[in-house]
Symmetry: C2
Subunit: 316 residues, 2 copies
């Protein structure tokens, strides 16, 4: 990744139906790593990497958007981006009492991802036993809180003592542990789930998944959101306990945010009401300036971020 | 396993509601290997291992069964078995034109397993691309034929040239290959599925699953019936390509016959009509005599059987 300077005319080209955005906040998300693997990915062809962000409309060739609208959706890592209007997920209507940056997280893609993964893909039921990895991250912190709102028993794993404290003291998880300090992940899970796990929200893959499979309950579900521990390995770790999927009739299912965009209005109503009542909290780690973007993005893979990693590009 | 001799009174004990069965055919099924792992499995406590079979009722404490009824369900590997009537899956009504042994296979548990796995768990749609491993076995041969009846493109893998010939010449698979002669399973799958696999019916696990994951299509499904290649390993093989479950939004789901027993009447109607029209065929490998049971059962794990492995205990 490198910073490239250039000039851009702040007008949508004559006859174009695209929208010109001033990017305010950019979202650092693990899935972006995989876009970079694509040898001819359209996301990288312009030179700027693509990702989610919160932006202000500067000019518009689309009748649906006008100067000054605040929007969130797929944009590019640059100061101004010209994008097809189809890349905008939603206009931002609610700004009272919630930071605009939340639309890269709890009120944006990670929020819908946690919601759809738990309730649609994971078929979460009241009172079930839930485990989530990368639990202090953008999606994980919401998974845990949504599950607690569903009267579930919730345990999360994270990569430092401070993050584990966050889980227990701020997000209201029942338990949390630092996976880096557990020599035997299977034993750790047995300690926290003596009766097994109903739903494992999968964010990391590898050794954690392998230990989880030994501890799943019959007819357990594994909504698979990501496998961040594996993305940067040339040879991914081998998972050896998959026969448990057969023995225990486990359903493991990968899913992407884009298949659940239609849930957004329902989701927004759910989460805004809980946010306003203080029943959900959200922790962000905000880096400032495009020039600090690469380090912020790369930091996700070593767990440098504390909460959802956001990049502030320009104040509103 | 050892043969034990004993005597039994051919009457249901006074006051018991159990049913006394004379076992005619016993079914050799891979899942039985896992029952034997249980340190205190009820299935082994009597000394005789449990499994599916076709039996004749000799005496009955249950009003639902009477002397002379032919039944199939869970029995034990012995000449006569006293079982709770709840272990009987069904009375056998149709015997015209179909061998009684078929109720250990195409008309029994393996048949329902293939049917439920493909259509319920695998959500198979007309015209999809289907791959099945252990394809000449009890379940695999039916999976392939049911998928062909659904206008699908079907490829199977098996462990010998003769078995592959069976797939193509007798069961009507589009293609088949001998996995033992493929140095690169990924390349083999790419050859047969240049556009990828919609449904992989999983019977074997391990290296085959790992190669399949690289070749699944977006929103593909993997009904997981068994992982026979792994059951006898002290250290199961590591599967490294699971991140494809996330990338491609794959749904992998383990399932057991017992959750789909309610489909049996509908299934029986479906399969009997096709059998009578000659649109489905079934190949069995029948060993004779209880004393040859252990070798027949163990043979499943090296692929010694040619078609569904059955054990004839007593002629009707």
């Amino acid at each position: 990744m490198e910073i490239v300077e250039g000039t851009i005319t702040l007008k949508v080209p004559e006859g174009s139906k695209e929208v010109l955005l001033k990017n305010l906040y950019l979202s650092c998300d693990p899935f972006m790593r995989n876009l970079m693997n694509k040898p001819q990915g359209t996301e990288t062809s312009s030179g700027a990497i693509g990702g989610f962000g919160v932006s202000k409309v500067i000019d518009s060739g689309s009748p649906d958007y006008k100067y000054g609208d605040l929007v969130w959706g797929l944009t590019k890592w640059e100061e101004y981006s010209l994008v097809p209007s189809s890349q905008i997920i939603s206009k931002i209507q609610h700004t009272d009492g919630v930071p605009l940056s939340y639309y890269t997280g709890i009120l944006g893609m990670p929020g819908v991802t946690a919601y759809a993964g738990l309730f649609e893909v994971g078929s979460l039921q009241k009172g079930e036993r839930v485990f989530v990895s990368a639990a202090s991250g953008a999606v994980g912190q919401l998974v845990g809180q949504f599950a607690k709102l569903t009267d579930c028993y919730v345990v999360g794993s994270a990569g430092s003592k401070d993050k584990v404290d966050l889980l227990k003291n701020k997000f209201g998880f029942d338990e949390g542990f630092n996976y880096k300090e557990e020599p035997d992940l299977n034993a750790a899970l047995k300690r926290y789930f003596p009766e097994g796990i109903d739903v494992y929200f999968e964010n990391v893959g590898g050794k954690t998944l392998d230990a989880v499979l030994l501890n799943m309950r019959v007819q357990g579900r594994i909504p698979a959101c990501g496998m961040i521990s594996q993305y940067n390995l040339t040879q991914p770790e081998g998972v050896t306990n998959l026969a448990n999927i057969v023995y225990k009739k486990i359903r493991m299912q990968g899913f992407h945010f884009f298949d659940y965009v239609n849930l957004y209005p329902k989701f927004l109503e759910f989460v805004l009401s809980h946010l306003k009542e203080g029943k959900i909290v959200y922790v962000e780690d905000i880096a400032e300036g495009l020039e600090n973007g690469p380090a912020a993005l790369v930091g996700l893979f070593s767990g440098r971020n504390f909460g959802k990693q956001v990049l502030l590009v320009a104040p509103e």
